[in-house]
């Protein structure tokens, strides 16, 4: 079989497009977790972002308002989580799960009026450059602004955590909230902000799905991507650059699976469908063999409530 070089470019471009929501939500959740907060509500925040983006796009007709509105909606719903876990000191896991259930329910309720409405076309950049370079052209050009943002976000996040003072504060709060507090850092405020940032990124991830990837509103349309984003953070051992690789593997397996089917490669479909999960387990096993590394990269106070007495 002759494999056209442009064909490979197209496949890689599809894989990258499917990785976008995972990268966005994971990078947001990574910051939240680095500050010591485990927010299992990613799926819920994502679906709220999806319906908000789509609803605002339909009502206002403005893509910019819709995108920022979706991020704001993510911020608003994560405020509930922040208030409960940071001010009322509730359990992170239970609150996060509740947030997901709440998000799915309320998005379905709001979404009732937006079913069956076609979405708007989202503008893509550098479309005319797509065919100029073989292989690289389709990979680099002809994507939406959110796509380019998603692929720079891991690098920005990495720089933020490693090189900036605020990044250091976030890590300090996540590793030892007591020490950070003794140094005069407002642990609660830092955690609040990190939760809200995570909400904004999940909201954007949801908006990408309902406005760009499959422009329409359908109940439950995030289809578990929020959970995959959560798994990705662990998979990456809280390293933003590894999120990029992980998201490509997770997104890519489905697409390669479909391509193999269409070519006629006889691998049981069920096996191919299960492959993303098998790969995750293998990677987790390989990573966790090095326990020193795991301890170094996991935020020590992850999921533990911090209560300052005064």
């Amino acid at each position: 079989m002759i494999i056209d070089i442009n064909f490979i470019g197209l496949i890689i471009a599809s894989i990258m497009a499917s990785a976008v929501p995972l990268i966005l939500a994971s990078c947001g959740e990574l910051i939240t977790e680095r500050s010591g907060v485990l927010n299992l509500g990613v799926e819920g925040m994502m679906i709220i972002g999806a319906i908000s983006g789509f609803a605002l796009m339909t009502v206002t007709g403005s893509l910019i308002i819709a995108i920022f509105g979706a991020m704001l909606a993510g911020v608003l719903i994560s405020t509930i989580f922040a208030f409960l876990t940071q001010t009322l000191i509730t359990n992170h896991v239970a609150t996060g799960l509740a947030l997901t259930i709440f998000g799915i329910g309320i998005s379905a309720m709001i979404g009732k009026n937006f079913v069956g409405i076609p979405g708007k076309e989202f503008p893509v950049l550098f479309e005319n450059l797509k065919d100029t370079i073989p292989l690289i052209g389709p990979i680099l050009f002809g994507h939406s602004i959110v796509f380019y943002f998603a692929f720079t976000l891991p690098f920005i996040t990495s720089y933020f955590l490693k090189k900036t003072k605020i990044g250091l504060i976030v890590r300090a709060v996540g590793d030892s909230p007591e020490s950070a507090s003794n140094q005069g850092i407002n642990v609660r405020l830092v955690r609040y902000l990190c939760i809200l940032y995570g909400g904004a990124m999940s909201g954007l991830a949801g908006a990408y799905l309902s406005m760009i990837y499959t422009p329409q509103w359908i109940e439950n349309m995030t289809g578990g991507r929020g959970w995959i984003a959560l798994a990705l953070v662990v998979f990456s051992t809280w390293n933003p650059i590894k999120i990029l690789i992980g998201a490509m593997i997770f997104g890519g397996l489905t697409i390669i699976q479909f391509h193999m089917q269409a070519i006629g490669v006889r691998i049981p479909v069920q096996f191919l469908t299960a492959l993303p999960y098998i790969v995750t387990i293998i990677v987790l096993v390989v990573i966790s063999r090095d326990s020193r590394k795991i301890r170094l990269s996991t935020p020590s106070s992850l999921g533990k409530s911090f209560h300052k007495d005064n």
Partner: protein, 356 residues
């Protein structure tokens, strides 16, 4: 004290009045049980359109959406039967056993189960649509419109309903264009827009210029629109989602059947039936044909539609061979309903194996 008394007296009068009025107007209450949300714009959505037709005919209806095909279904059915519903439509294959079980407990309530085959009690009927007739039309259009001779087909699960659709589609496409290849991708979902779009994209990247689907969301036609290839709407008219890509849609039209059956209960003429209706009875409807199709193709399709409706043409007319070349249907014969209902082999010309 006085005030409260007067108020409750007045309100009970009002209540009494309303109850009497509804009792006089129409007695029959119908209930619908849905597998998905009414907002799926596919399978459940179309059933709900049918329910609204019943409502428009003057009957009271209730529906419960998102009912899992498990013990939950039994609980919901029992509750509906207990709360004064006279006829209950269960609109997914997996409700087959719960429907029959609950029907035994409520002999005075009529049960209508979609796409199933079990009628264990006198108060259970089954109904389904001959969607494959619609796919004969889609295959004819696809075979004519393709330039690459590669047609993509996004399938859901390997069950007779889907296999029958693939076969009917491929037979029709080959009839107008013997050179076509049908590439099939199994998405293993009825409903996941992201996955469906990815499956369609994979087929398009591999050269398919017409995409057919047997999954329920509009993601595939939208992907086709983006890529500049043709596609067909599933279950409902999807033209507005992809005006350039969608050539036509096969719509599920349950309304007339539902109204008919509820009226039968009202008149006391309801009886047990097994209904399998197609284009002829209006249960399968072909949407408007897109003007991008050449005029002669459009008139050919119209004629085929009329012939399928009258029974002059059957989707499975022999000679039909399976992939190994064994004769499935002899020349001049047509496949009987029993064969269609249990169809689990590809016909000659379909590529690949049925996943197990």
């Amino acid at each position: 004290m006085h005030k409260i008394f007067i108020r409750s007296f007045v309100s009970s009068l009002v209540l009494l009045f309303t109850l009497t009025v509804t009792a006089i107007a129409k007695d029959v209450k119908a209930a619908f049980v849905y597998i998905g949300p009414t907002g799926d714009h596919g399978w459940t959505y179309q059933h709900d359109v049918g329910r609204k037709a019943v409502e428009a005919a003057g009957f009271k209806t209730t529906y419960v959406e998102g009912v899992p095909e498990s013990a939950d279904a039994e609980r919901v059915l029992r509750q509906l039967a207990n709360s004064g519903h006279d006829i209950i439509f269960t609109t997914s294959f997996g409700y087959m056993n719960p429907t029959n079980k609950v029907a035994k407990e409520f002999p005075n309530v009529k049960f209508e189960h979609a796409t199933g085959y079990k009628r264990e009690h006198a108060n259970v009927s089954t109904y389904a649509a001959r969607f494959y007739e619609g796919r004969t039309i889609l295959g004819t259009i696809a075979g004519t419109m393709t330039k690459s001779n590669v047609i993509g087909y996004v399938a859901s699960f390997p069950i007779p309903e889907v296999i029958r659709g693939i076969n009917s589609f491929t037979l029709a496409a080959q009839k107008v264009n013997p050179n076509i290849k049908t590439k099939i991708v199994w998405a293993f979902t009825w409903y996941d827009p992201g996955k469906e779009a990815e499956a369609a994209k994979a087929l398009i990247d591999q050269g398919a210029d017409v995409i057919a689907q047997h999954t329920d969301s509009t993601a595939i036609v939208q992907m086709a629109e983006k890529a500049g290839v043709y596609a067909f709407g599933q279950a409902s008219d999807m033209d507005k989602f992809a005006p350039k890509a969608v050539l036509t849609s096969v719509e599920n039209n349950w309304g007339p059947y539902y109204v008919d059956r509820v009226k039968a209960v009202a008149n006391g003429t309801w009886n047990q039936k097994d209904t399998w209706h197609g284009i002829g009875d209006g249960m399968v409807v072909i949407s408007d044909l897109d003007s991008q199709m050449p005029a002669d193709l459009r008139s050919k399709v119209k004629k085929l539609q009329a012939d399928l409706a009258s029974g002059k043409v059957h989707s499975f007319t022999g000679p039909i061979y399976d992939q190994k070349g064994n004769l499935m249907v002899a020349e001049g014969k047509t496949a009987d309903d029993g064969m269609l209902a249990g169809m689990m082999t590809y016909v000659k010309g379909v590529e690949g194996d049925i996943p197990k």
